[in-house]
Symmetry: C2
Subunit: 304 residues, 2 copies
């Protein structure tokens, strides 16, 4: 499980400060989360294979989170894409994209599927054998969702020492992982629990951008491996936070503390601050385990 930050700045993109976009590799999926203007260039720069992206999650319809989507959809078409693309985002996103495709007479040659969201409660929006994705309703100026990505680890882990000692043939390993009891090479029935450990604890990633301070969110993101929480401003600008419905670094840390998360990742920094280390410093007055997003940064979940 790996997260690549393509852009982590709020508002207008400039210089090397890109608008929000992230790539989450989880099991066999490559999920794109938000898609600010220029995301396709950031994907290339970070060597993400375009063809691997089959699901795009858009938190809300402010430009710095989705103005790059229509360009990416068009580029997929120019590259001859055939695989389905599913877009999860607020109601209205389909109308925006389809209108532009219609006026440019540039219908995609692949299936473009929209899952429009308008619920104010958390919803399960994606599920397969390996991953589930739920929305995290947030509190912003317009309808906004965060997203919770959860691994499903059904397979038990082999206790290799015990397996070898019990003389179980390699062809039975998958059945052991599935939780079955097996017969060893001497014809003895061996109990599964003697040869395996519980499945690995599933890792979870919570993406929360953009939002005002919303302590209620803590129940849904309890003990996630990694919480990305927006921190647009520092505490000194709390008045701006209230007006714009964003969070300070300190408030993000308070959410991390309430939810007892593993690691807090801060981003969506306002361009007014020249030193983003101030965000870390402020957050750490409340919650110790803080890292800062940065365009191009890669976070391996096995290291968390």
């Amino acid at each position: 499980m790996k997260l690549t930050i393509l852009g982590c700045y709020s508002g207008t993109p400039h210089g090397n400060k890109n608008s929000t976009a992230q790539v989450l590799e989880i099991k066999s999926h490559t999920f794109l989360i938000d898609c600010g203007e220029g995301t396709q260039l950031q994907l290339r720069k970070n060597k993400v294979k375009f063809s691997r992206i089959k699901h795009i999650f858009i938190s809300h319809l402010h430009g710095d989170h989705f103005y790059g989507l229509i360009g990416l959809i068009s580029t997929f078409r120019l590259l001859g894409r055939e695989a389905d693309l599913t877009i999860y985002g607020p109601k209205g996103i389909k109308e925006i994209i389809v209108l532009q495709l219609k006026l440019s007479k540039s219908w995609t040659n692949y299936n473009l599927i929209f899952k429009e969201l308008n619920s104010k409660s958390s919803e399960l929006i994606f599920e397969d054998d390996n991953v589930i994705v739920d929305t995290i309703p947030l509190d912003h100026r317009i309808y906004t969702n965060g997203f919770m990505f959860t691994e499903i680890n059904k397979e038990r882990r082999l206790n290799m020492n015990a397996v070898l000692n019990a003389h179980v043939h390699v062809s039975y390993y998958q059945r052991l992982k599935n939780g079955d009891d097996v017969i060893n090479e001497k014809g003895q029935m061996i109990k599964n629990s003697d040869l395996t450990f519980k499945p690995a604890k599933p890792k979870r990633y919570a993406f929360c951008s953009d939002t005002a301070f919303k302590p209620l969110v803590k129940d849904q993101i309890k003990k996630v491996t990694l919480l990305y929480h927006e921190a647009t401003f520092l505490d000194e600008h709390q008045n701006l936070c209230e007006r714009t419905k964003h969070s300070t670094a300190k408030q993000a840390a308070e959410i991390a503390k309430l939810a007892e998360v593993g690691t807090l990742l801060l981003g969506h920094f306002s361009a007014r601050y020249s030193d983003i280390n101030l965000f870390k410093k402020e957050a750490q007055t409340v919650f110790e385990n803080v890292i800062l997003a940065n365009d191009g940064k890669i976070i391996e979940f096995k290291n968390l």
Copy 2:
């Protein structure tokens, strides 16, 4: 009069190859012509003052010519713009922009004026004392206009030797420029034609992108100072040109020759060619005075 190329590549932007956008400084105006994704970043990189842009001309609704427009409009808002912004473009452009502003609840705090185009004949779309802009109907897969920018030079130029010899007081110079006869310091009436030259020949810039080979265009662009004509492909790919309604470098040169233009500027190059000098070489088999667009290139009309 000065032209800055912000982007001159066709299709999907990548690396340092930007989608079509140009800035034309003409008299006191700073006109933006087309606005592919990332144009706002190119404007910053080329140090164009955002506040000077009051008119944006969009040739057609293919993404590589306008996907950067909504982002620029939003950034103007974030920067606190108050001046009117007028957008000239195909019918439908207003719906695209307004829908996105509506869904993001981000109305501009400045007047956003749309002049939607749907005529198949050339139209005068902008006029003041110094400049006129006409559309140049082109032949592409969707409704497309080029634009003709013409300086208006009404003022006669002073023949300074004659003016000094005739003892005309400096306070009469403007009246001389206006074409009036004047009385000199000795009380003698002096004919304007003895003291002035004709107004400078107005410079004209024709922007033609995207279009199939359309010889009919020659009448409208006859003898322009500078013709930007798209050259998406080389002659070896004429089959692609026909299918996609683009032009080869050779065809662009044929238009330049037919129209007897001063200089031909080629752009909108397909990314399939690694050496764009081939475009110049091919065009020069037909028309000698060819220059190549390049992102960041500046063309001063006084040097043409």
